[in-house]
């Protein structure tokens, strides 16, 4: 009898383990494809029970440092295509998420086992040798053009320093500053108008003769109410104007052989989707967008995930100072997540 009960218990346990609800973390698979260093790659994550809620991809370097590389929230999906940035020192990827039943699942994969080649590429070697400048955010407006002669005489890192401290500036937005100036002028003018009217106009002197025990207010209730309403109107207008759009800056470095030509690197600015693309390049570079070359890139997106990965696909290789986090926007497009100002070197094919 006891043997039969034990057998039944084993059968019940086996049935439970085989059921979808009892799926183990091992049922998640990660297909890395052919990952390349200094590039955005795609990993396809599958789970027998589907995936739900949230997906995260964490990369661990050879030095043990971990970076969150991909994060997305969704309802349910059979597979998740996670875009992630790979650098030569990336050794392992770990997936964290939930299966279709909401149970947490994890999976890890080693990149070198998937054919990840971290060295040997001349572009990658060139990028590895470049350093990043210290950035002190410029306060003024960026210039419309810079002389190519001066930049081509500089080493790439020195040119990057010029770009980071002079060219990659957020600039000014006219509407909020105009609204704030108008508000400041209006407030001071209103105070001046009441001041001119004197104590009878409601601005009575504190401590005036005979009024020591009933001090006068600095502003009457009616004046305060009007000021509060006007203040609210301006505040709402300023909030409605929204933040400055995210920006993707790039400086295409002039080749050393082109020095002395006297040309200028012209600024090209356009609003693309939810971000502003600002690039400096010479007329020759603009005429031949596919020509090989080196670029210094800056991404300013502290408040919103707005710069899509597609905007960076023009670079064959791209080396970020710090591995960026990729997120999905509301339309499912892969974008750089909001964060600190990011700097990168890019190589054109």
């Amino acid at each position: 009898m006891r043997t039969r009960l034990a057998l039944l218990a084993r059968l019940a346990l086996a049935a439970f383990m085989a059921s979808p609800a009892g799926a183990l973390p091992g049922s998640v698979s990660i297909d890395l494809g052919s990952p390349r260093p200094y590039a955005f790659n795609e990993a396809t994550v599958r789970c027998a029970d589907g995936l739900s809620e949230r997906a995260r991809l964490v990369g661990t370097g050879l030095d043990g440092a971990s970076f969150l590389l991909f994060e997305a929230e969704f309802g349910y999906a059979d597979t998740v295509s996670a875009r992630y940035y790979a650098w030569p020192g990336l050794s392992a990827l770990e997936f964290e998420g939930f299966d279709g039943d909401g149970s947490p699942v994890t999976a890890a994969v080693r990149l070198h086992a998937a054919g990840f080649v971290s060295g040997g590429d001349p572009d990658a070697s060139e990028l590895s040798s470049l350093g990043f400048p210290f950035r002190q955010a410029p306060l003024g407006r960026p210039p419309r053009a810079v002389g190519e002669d001066g930049l081509s005489a500089l080493a790439p890192e020195a040119a990057a320093r010029v770009a980071a401290s002079e060219l990659f500036a957020a600039g000014r937005r006219p509407f909020p500053l105009a609204a704030l100036s108008l508000w400041a002028v209006a407030f001071v003018a209103a105070a001046a108008a009441r001041w001119k009217r004197g104590p009878s106009g409601g601005l009575r002197a504190v401590g005036a003769p005979g009024r020591e025990r009933e001090p006068a207010p600095l502003a009457s209730e009616a004046w305060l109410t009007r000021a509060a309403i006007a203040s609210a109107v301006f505040a709402i207008a300023l909030i409605a104007a929204g933040p400055a759009p995210a920006a993707l800056y790039s400086l295409r470095l002039p080749s050393a052989t082109g020095s002395g030509s006297g040309r200028a690197l012209a600024k090209t600015e356009r609003l693309a989707g939810g971000y502003r693309s600002v690039s400096w390049e010479s007329a020759a570079g603009a005429e031949a967008p596919g020509a090989p070359g080196l670029a210094f890139i800056g991404v300013r997106s502290p408040l919103s995930a707005a710069v899509p990965l597609e905007a960076l696909l023009r670079y064959d290789r791209i080396r970020f100072k710090r591995p960026p986090l990729v997120a999905l926007d509301s339309s499912g497009r892969a974008v750089l997540a909001p964060g600190r100002f990011a700097m990168a070197w890019g190589v054109y094919d």
Partner: protein, 164 residues
Amino acid sequence: MTKRLHPLAAAAIVVPLLAAAIILPSGLDEAVPPAIAGGAALAWAALVAVAAGWGASGTGAALAAAMPFCAYALSAFSPAPAWPWLAAFAAAAFAAFATAAAFESRKETAKDGGKASGGLGSGVAIALGLVPGLAVASLAGPLAGAAVSVLYASIAALASRRRR
């Protein structure tokens, strides 16, 4: 000595805030927490009001003058949705005004008939009005902070009215 809202005093509140808005770029490299981004303008206005020894009405005017700057800073520099935080700051400013008014009415009804405005007490009253709502907003969310500030302002207004 007369204490009135002189145009220069009004300029002392708004001109430095406007200068800061012009000097700073329209977007920073890194996001600033909303309590700091929006709180800086209100803190400046409260500081000027306390230093100048203005009473509740002067404090109210100063805080009203700073609110558009607060809204701009929230929108430009803070990653959180700006609307709830604007509500939290507006409610906190109102609570500070109500607390300052309650403090002023307490001094008016005092037997010695002391000065109604200014001094450390006024500064403490303004801080007591501003801080609770903003602290709750930072810890539990801006709308919770706004609710606390409104409650606080109601209690202060009730206390002020009962004294009168």
